[in-house]
């Protein structure tokens, strides 16, 4: 690989990359994003490689086979896309690969069976751009995901990568970069929504050196995986965003903090950093300028609190991740007590586009106070699970129904949970809310990093609150009392509600306690800790009262208050008897079974395996 010494040389290098890419008119893109990988897409890619390495096909070479980042539509995965036609194959299995090669790649024929079927019209749709899930989206942070190989700097450069960096170093002063980012109105995608331009300007204005740039890849909110998809599938976007940021704020050293649960993200980022170093896009005198910058990948240790800025910086420094009070913000006194800009993965992935197309262009997307787009992981009891990116201001209804395709199994919508453990649950009456930073906060939830978990009538809101509180009790670092002890008590009281042991007065106590935790806690984890309780009790108070007054869990979830029985639909298939670990179910083959309530542990295994709807929860 050559060492690129100037923006002009980068332009020449790019020409070569484009010429190389244009050799491959037909490409096979195998999605290797988080969802498809969990569905075995690596085996599919290997099968393609195995067959194609021994088979010659006219007009197609094995270099045109790509393991790409997440395409988003995880529900339909594993996905295989044939470009340039955009033929979209869903639920691909290893045994389909030979047929795809013979029919579609060699024979240019579409395999009907593997196409997406629109559930409304029952029609098969060939091109992915015609599928409703995609047609409602605007992709900026996800712009390259699913288009290029996961870690290939040449492909990234061919589709316009590192052009924004060249423009920055050749034509812009640091002040101009900050001005552009400020004009874009970009707010922190990690959840807090702080203006990126303001943060950069503060850091740049501080005399004390060195300055640090950190990318927060500690995507700790359970139910969110947008950042994982970007770090694994398009690491160069993040790296380019960081280099531009470092130039703007005058930093020579950056860190990417990746959570422990994402080993592949660490590998891909490290590979991408190595590629950028080899080309001279990281290191001393980048593109012949005076600016030098390098990046170190720091692996987390599996602690949710380390997503909080001051805790994260402690962890990067090899210490216990306990947050500190932020009378002095981390942009002034951050990593190693030096001025530090911390941005989230998605925020940084937006930067190259902002520089390329201008802050004003970006600011026209979305709403006036929340500009641009936002990536969400749309998951839970929704038909189309996956990763999506929509303009800010899109309504929850559009997301759940137009993109998400409504609720699974035709059940009623109950709530949408946003913002992770710090966020809240919004009921059906709030479905027409616009999704942006301020609207969601006003409604008692928050944007958070972008997890959007859809719940149906089979989800108990008391159980959801209990779940999040138990998570937060585990993850509280224990430094300050309101969080450590307060959340513990709040959790214990939620357990009492779920077991029918609470009184109505307890709800008021819980609300008071929540207020104290919010006021007294040191960091964001504690301050927003009671949100899961507060938002559910605000919108689903009746459900709490049903647990307390009538000792009933309407959703059929809280174990202490429910009973599993077998109804007349039972055909005696024995599946539940085999599944029951407590030997609570008796019966003969082809004869109705019976659950012994004394022995039943209410684990729900029988309900999960029954194919005949023969288990009733009361």
């Amino acid at each position: 690989m050559m060492h690129i010494e100037s923006p002009k040389q980068l332009a020449e290098y790019r020409k070569k990359c484009v010429a190389e890419e244009s050799k491959y008119t037909r490409k096979v893109l195998v999605c290797c994003g988080p969802g498809c990988l969990a569905n075995g897409s690596q085996k599919i890619s290997d099968e393609f490689k195995r067959i194609l390495s021994s088979k010659k096909i006219k007009g197609f070479s094995i270099e045109a086979l790509r393991d790409t980042g997440c395409h988003g539509y995880c529900e339909q995965g594993p996905l295989v896309i044939i470009e340039p036609d955009g033929t979209f194959y869903t639920h691909v299995k290893v045994k389909d690969v030979a047929e795809i090669i013979d029919e579609t790649i060699a024979g240019k024929k579409v395999i009907e069976r593997l196409l997406y079927c629109d559930p409304d019209t029952a029609k098969k749709i060939e091109k992915y751009s015609d599928i409703p899930f995609y047609s409602h989206q605007t992709r900026i942070a996800f712009r390259n995901l699913g288009r290029v190989s996961q870690c290939d700097i040449n492909q990234y450069i061919a589709i316009g990568g590192y052009q924004a960096l060249a423009k920055t170093l050749a034509d812009m002063t640091p002040e101009q970069v900050i001005k552009e980012v400020s004009a874009s109105g970009l707010r922190g995608r990690g959840g807090a929504g702080f203006h990126a331009g303001k943060k950069w300007a503060t850091c740049a204005g501080i005399q004390e050196k060195p300055h640090y740039v950190i990318c927060n890849g500690d995507e700790g909110d359970p139910g969110a995986f947008m950042d994982r998809a970007i770090m694994e599938g398009d690491p160069h976007s993040v790296i380019e965003g960081m280099i531009i940021c470092s130039y703007a704020v005058g930093s020579n050293q950056g860190y990417i903090y990746v959570r422990e649960e994402y080993p592949l993200a660490v590998v891909n980022l490290q590979k991408a950093i190595e590629q950028a170093r080899e080309l001279g896009l990281l290191g001393e005198n980048i593109l012949g300028s005076d600016h030098s910058f390098d990046i170190h990948v720091s692996r987390g240790g599996g602690a949710f609190v380390c997503g909080e800025s001051s805790a994260l910086m402690k962890s990067v420094a090899g210490e216990v991740g306990e947050p500190r009070a932020k009378y002095i913000r981390s942009v002034v006194k951050g990593l190693f007590d030096k001025p530090t800009v911390l941005n989230n993965v998605e925020s940084l992935a937006n930067i190259p586009v902002i520089i390329d197309k201008g802050g004003e262009w970006f600011s026209k997307i979305g709403t006036s106070t929340s500009t641009g787009t936002k990536a969400f992981s749309l998951v839970g009891k929704v038909n189309n699970s996956g990763l999506i990116e929509v303009p800010m201001g899109t309504t929850l209804r559009e997301i759940v129904y137009d993109i998400g395709g409504g609720i699974r199994d035709g059940r009623p919508f109950k709530a949408v949970q946003t913002g992770g453990p710090s966020g809240g649950c919004l009921p059906e009456s709030k479905l027409d809310l616009q999704v942006d930073f301020d609207t969601l906060t006003k409604a008692g939830s928050m944007m958070g990093s972008g997890g959007m978990i859809i719940m149906d009538d089979r989800t108990c809101m008391v159980d959801v609150a209990k779940y999040f509180l138990s998570f937060l009790v585990d993850e509280s670092c224990g430094k300050c009392v309101p969080c450590r002890e307060g959340l513990y008590q709040l959790h214990a009281m939620t357990v009492a509600v779920s077991e029918g042991r609470a009184t109505e007065a307890d709800i008021e106590k819980m609300e008071k306690l929540s207020d104290m935790i919010v006021i007294g806690s040191l960091c964001g984890l504690g301050k927003s800790g009671p949100n899961p309780f507060l938002s559910t009790v605000m919108y689903f108070r009746d459900e709490y009262l049903e647990h307390i007054r009538n000792k009933r869990c309407p959703a059929g979830v809280c174990r202490a208050l429910i009973q599993y029985t077998i109804n007349e639909k039972c055909n005696g298939c024995m599946a539940c008897i085999t599944a029951c670990a407590h030997h609570a179910i008796t019966g003969k083959k082809k004869e109705p079974h019976f659950i012994n309530q004394e022995l039943c542990d209410k684990c729900g295994a029988c309900y999960a395996v029954c194919q005949h709807d023969a288990i009733t929860i009361t």
């Binding site: 969990a38 359970p222 969110a224 090899g318 992981s377 978990i453 989800t459 959801v464 779940y467 993850e475």
Partner: protein, 151 residues
């Protein structure tokens, strides 16, 4: 622990014995031995010139570290929000019953360890179980037997 100084020295050298690389060093030790053996903690403190108390506090603060040995196969059950509402609890209980241990424990023959993890980031495929970092999505109670058998 088979006391292998060479391996530890190589890990310390990989990070130039920098005190701020403590977490990375411990991660590599954990990877090597599948847990953090006591003597290794003592040597880490010495090599990186950090107090043993700090090594201990970091080792016990982060979930990634374990002071007790783990089994050859680590079954990680995702209990993230999406997995939770799609029935991770039932899955967890079934796996616990099959292996005869609770989450966080290791079988006496050192073959299996069950762990719960708060989200592996494959939410669209919930519920998810990872067996030695190999993800399995859309896990069902009925399909679990096959999965465990394969392992």
């Amino acid at each position: 622990m088979s006391h292998d100084r060479g391996k530890l020295e190589a890990i310390f050298d990989r990070y130039s014995r920098q005190p701020e690389s403590l977490i990375a060093v411990l991660q590599d030790i954990q990877k090597e031995y599948r847990y953090l053996p006591g003597p290794a903690l003592l040597e880490t403190a010495e090599a990186l010139k950090v107090p043993l108390s700090k090594v201990f506090s970091v080792s016990t603060f982060y979930n990634a570290f374990s002071l007790t040995p783990k089994g050859e196969t680590v079954v990680r059950i995702c209990v993230g929000t999406t997995c939770h509402i799609r029935g991770a609890k039932v899955i967890q209980q079934q796996i616990e019953n099959m292996l005869g241990i609770k989450a966080g424990e290791t079988t006496p023959d050192m073959k299996f360890t069950i762990e719960v993890v708060a989200c592996v980031g494959a939410c669209a495929m919930a519920p998810v179980v990872a067996v030695n970092d190999q993800f399995h999505g859309g896990v069902t109670v009925a399909g679990l037997k096959r999965l465990v058998k394969k392992v």
